[in-house]
């Protein structure tokens, strides 16, 4: 094994350990953090409410594209009536949770990392420590919980908007029957499929928030270091989302 590869593997192991330890400390701080709900509400607003526009726009266009593509494919088999089924299951089980988590990592995860990173660089976290205020409890935990709550809600909104986007294309423009679109979707979707989507979105929310907060907390206290930490947040979140998506899908099937 070359020297570079050895350093790379070692760094990966170290990073996993750092994140794991931070996760445990974060969980321990979550209980006390729940006693300050205002901090969490502010973070739900920052991470969730302000991501609403991008999530709804992306959901709408994702749904519209799905409507077009599935219509084209199903049309080749003369089965355009199955459009509702195809779109509903695709959005609910895969595209809703995954795309929302990826967008959340880009929109809110980066903001979390750079915000906490800047606190680290300007010694605000150290100052808290000096004043015997636990920065994990007051800075990291509310942000983690805010993301954890926001992502499932954003995913649900994404999925519903996407469904209506697909309905817009399929029913209004391509002429699939309105009643058939919804009744086919309803007959194919079971409560289990909804649960799968919700579980995925909760897991993704936890992972993205954890990575974002951890990268910010442990970022190098320089301008360059914050930039690198932000990049790592997006890369690590995206890889983890897609990896865990496979694992969770395998578990649920």
């Amino acid at each position: 094994m070359s020297n570079g590869a050895r350093v790379g593997v070692l760094e990966l192991v170290r990073k996993s350990g750092e994140t794991g330890i931070f996760f445990v400390r974060l969980l321990a701080a979550c209980g006390p953090a729940l006693g300050r709900p205002r901090l969490i509400i502010a973070q739900i607003y920052n991470a969730g409410a302000r991501s609403l526009i991008i999530i709804m726009l992306s959901g709408l266009f994702t749904g519209m594209v799905l409507g077009l593509q599935f219509y084209d494919v199903l049309n080749r088999f003369g089965a355009t009536e199955a459009l509702g089924t195809a779109v509903a299951l695709a959005l609910l089980k895969e595209l809703g949770p995954v795309l929302t988590a990826l967008l959340f990592a880009g929109r809110a995860g980066t903001a979390l990392t750079s915000e906490i990173g800047l606190m680290r660089a300007t010694d605000q976290l150290t100052a808290m420590d000096v004043m015997a205020v636990d920065p994990i409890r007051h800075v990291a935990a509310p942000r983690f919980l805010g993301g954890l709550i926001a992502v499932p809600l954003l995913t649900a909104i994404f999925t519903v908007v996407g469904l209506f986007g697909a309905q817009l294309i399929g029913v209004q423009f391509l002429g699939v029957d309105h009643g058939i679109f919804w009744s086919q979707a309803q007959s194919a979707v079971a409560l289990k499929d909804v649960t799968e989507g919700v579980v995925k979105s909760v897991v993704f929310g936890a992972v993205v928030s954890l990575i974002a907060v951890n990268e910010g907390y442990h970022s190098e206290p320089t301008a360059e270091g914050i930039g690198r930490a932000t990049t790592r947040t997006v890369v690590a979140s995206s890889v983890m989302i897609l990896l865990l998506d496979y694992v969770l899908t395998a578990v649920f099937l």
Binding site: G78, E81, A156, A185
Partner: protein
Amino acid sequence: MRANRSLEIGTGLFVLLGFAALLFLSMQLPANGLKFSFKKPAGYAVTAQFDNIGDLKVGAPVRMAGVRIGQVTRIDFDTNTERAKVWLRIDPRFNQIPADSSAAIDTEGLLGGQYIAISPGAMPTYLSNGSRILETQSALVLENLINKFFATEANKSHGSGDDAKESK
């Protein structure tokens, strides 16, 4: 204080919207979830009884000459006649359907859902709210057709097993 208030309203809106979406997904979308409908459907109700409705579902369209004129609103089993009872809601525009029209369950495409096709009769009176379509034709169940086909094939080969040469 002002800024705090708008923050709380924004968060509240987001959370409510999220839960509304979750409710929609878990209650309205799955067939086994709860359902409630808000808009009162327009039109008049007609019933029809079928021996077998196959895969017909609530919400399926009612068509006449291929044009959508209404939809299936309810499906139930009639214990008196031992048949399936289907409620149809016909658009108020189409109020001149002869009373002796017949209803059949057809399939759209290869994998598509089923719908009710109405073929017009000739009577001068029209279907109205509460009237019943008497003449119906059940859904074609593919498995039954296949079974029938294989049964007749088997009969044929049994009957003409030895004298195949003779028959042709």
